[in-house]
Amino acid sequence: MPPELESPLRSLTATNVVIVAGKGGVGKTTVTAVIARAARRAGRRVLVVELDGKPMLDHLVPSDGPDGEDGDPAIDVVHISAADALDEYLRDHGFARIAKRLNKTGVIDMVGTAAPGIDDVVVLGKIKQFERSGDYDLIVVDGPAAGHAITFLTSATGLANAVRGGPVKTQSDEVLDLLTDSSRCQVVLVTLPETTPVNEVIETAFALEDVVGVRLGPVVVNGVDTGVALPDADAEAAAVEALDEVEAEPIRAAAAFRRSRREMEHDELARLTRDLPLAQVHLEALPVAGLTAADVDLLVDAIAAAVPVEDGDG
């Protein structure tokens, strides 16, 4: 029996499938990696799914990480491209005999346009297959950007209504079953403690709840400033008094800058708490401009340490 994960990691990994979504640049991939690494540490069999785009996750979730040597299971990473998935689907459904190269003949474009959302449904269908295979305890999907997240997740609803029968109808219904089953699937939204990302995450959360009825997990706030504590203005003035101006000026400017950013961050977090009734998980801002696997492990440690370990075995 693998050890239980501590809350809030437990709530982030509570379902078979976790779809991570958020605006570009908020750190979806980081959060995907943190969830996957945390689950792997607890002995889960983890699959990470990357949708269209550049493969980023291979180096963030290496299978030979610090705890890999003691026989922990590796993390599998799979890349699914919507165009390839649709191509494969059509070949499996009677197109293979007609068109050797479906892309060249434009059949893919036409089917995708005639039945919008079919490519998204086919992608979700593949994720559902992985879930049903029983090969994994947790499937983490590095999802599409927030704008597309809504169309991605509503694709099955739209298609199920538009198509009356046949394989696409069956596929859409099965995908809807997965999305609306709160024991199997949840969406984890990611944001930053800044105005625009907070606005967008609030809008997306309500839209997803209204239209799809999917379970929403905790909101992950990336890049929360947990750096050095700053003295108040009076203490600061006293401390730099003895310094010459050339030295004192950057110290004062840096402190003023950090205070101002923190104040803004504090206000945005307060607004998020007020306007969106979901639990929050905060990830600290690491002083890096691009994360490595070691940084991901630091974040996992930080979340794990933030709350008491419930069933300590050592």
Binding site: G25, M56, T113, V163
Partner: protein
């Protein structure tokens, strides 16, 4: 003076491209604002429906699908004008159909077809295509002498260059030719050779959807060449020397990787990058390295002073890492054409905020590397 200064002096079109979430829309607005200050008549087209830009420009009712004049303080401008609008993909597409349709009846048949509505609303590349089309229309509009456009978030810089040709290719596809077998009596749907394909399509998407598709291509016939010629004109403008590409990035690995890739693609296509703008860099605090500040913190007897130095060290560390991260972009675009903008201590929410950024960009820009 760096190349990016000349950017707004003589460009007729500026295209801002880059990954999502790096500040393309704000950058487009800032470039437009500065060009207006220089006396140019500028229209900024955004694809981002974000409320924030409308607020920042003082448009209480939001951005519209037609250019709206932005009120600027007279003293700040040299008889220039700033206009802004939001791209309306579907309305732009509808307009093209009406223009090239033989008559209203043909246009109505196309516009009401479900396949057409899907194509106008959701087909990948449509947004890029219509952004390029809008840019072309505004370029020919006498009210403006500079068009600034931000591009849809895209993994591929070439989408914007190639999207105008996408529809033409879409209509030329063999699959549709199969649907529209010419016969002695004119166009006949469901030629015998096409039947297995049609059956397969019908089986997957349903017969209603198939019937819509056939009806669409029937309605569209005769308009292909009009669309293709127009697409060619749009591509010619985008590739012309008066069109400048600006790559926008944030100082993070992923965003810089994409910016480098974008820039590389543009160079390969002989389009070239006129400038790279890296948004939201950590500002510099004094001279000296993070290590210097860390040593000062360690050496300080007063714990308050130590904390203050540690703060300087943390902020400098971030800046040093960001500078290392952006190096590959500087390599490909060039030192003179790359400019960084500082992370501000507050959010941009009004014209003053945009002016502040414009000031950083054009008057006391933060030089990269050694001072010139």
């Amino acid at each position: 003076m760096a190349d990016y200064r000349g950017l707004i002096d003589d460009a007729e079109v500026i295209v801002c491209c880059g990954a999502g979430g790096v500040g393309k829309t704000t950058t487009a607005a800032v470039l437009g604002l500065e060009a207006a200050r220089m006396g140019r008549r500028v229209v900024v087209v955004t694809i981002d429906p974000a409320r924030r830009l409308a607020d920042a420009l003082g448009l209480a009712d939001g951005l519209a699908a037609q250019p709206q004049r932005i009120e600027l303080v007279a003293a700040d401008t040299d008889a220039g004008e700033l206009w802004a609008m939001m791209l309306d993909t579907e309305a732009t597409f509808d307009g093209l159909v009406r223009r090239y349709a033989g008559d209203d009846e043909q246009a109505d048949r196309i516009l009401s077809n479900p396949l057409y509505r899907n194509m106008a609303g959701a087909m990948s590349g449509t947004q890029e295509y219509m952004a390029a089309e809008t840019l072309h229309a505004l370029h020919g509009d006498d009210r403006f002498d500079l068009v600034v456009v931000d591009t849809p978030p895209s993994r591929n810089a070439l989408d914007f260059l190639e999207a105008p040709g996408v529809l033409a290719r879409f209509l030329d596809h063999r699959a549709f030719k199969l649907l529209m077998l010419p016969t002695k009596t004119g166009l006949k749907v469901l030629g015998s050779a096409a039947q297995p394909l049609l059956k397969a399509i019908g089986r997957v998407v349903g017969s209603d959807v198939l019937a819509d598709s056939v009806a669409f291509f029937q309605a569209f016939s005769g308009m292909e060449s009009g669309f293709r010629d127009r697409a060619d004109e749009v591509v010619t403008l985008i590739r012309a020397s008066e069109t400048k590409f600006v790559v926008v990035a944030a100082p993070r690995h992923d965003a810089i990787d994409e910016a480098v890739w974008f820039a590389g693609q543009l160079v390969e296509q002989h389009v070239g990058v006129s400038a790279a703008i890296v948004n939201r860099m950590q500002p510099a605090f004094g001279v000296g390295s993070a290590d210097d500040a860390e040593q000062a913190a360690t050496g300080a007897d007063d714990p308050t002073l130590a904390a203050l130095w540690r703060n300087v060290a943390e902020l400098r560390t971030l800046r040093e890492r960001e500078q290392a991260v952006i190096a590959p972009l500087v390599d490909i675009v060039g030192l003179d054409a790359t400019v960084t903008l500082p992370l501000l201590d507050s959010d941009v929410h009004d014209l003053d905020g945009l002016w502040t950024i414009a000031g950083h960009l054009f008057r006391d820009a933060d030089p990269i590397g050694p001072s010139r």
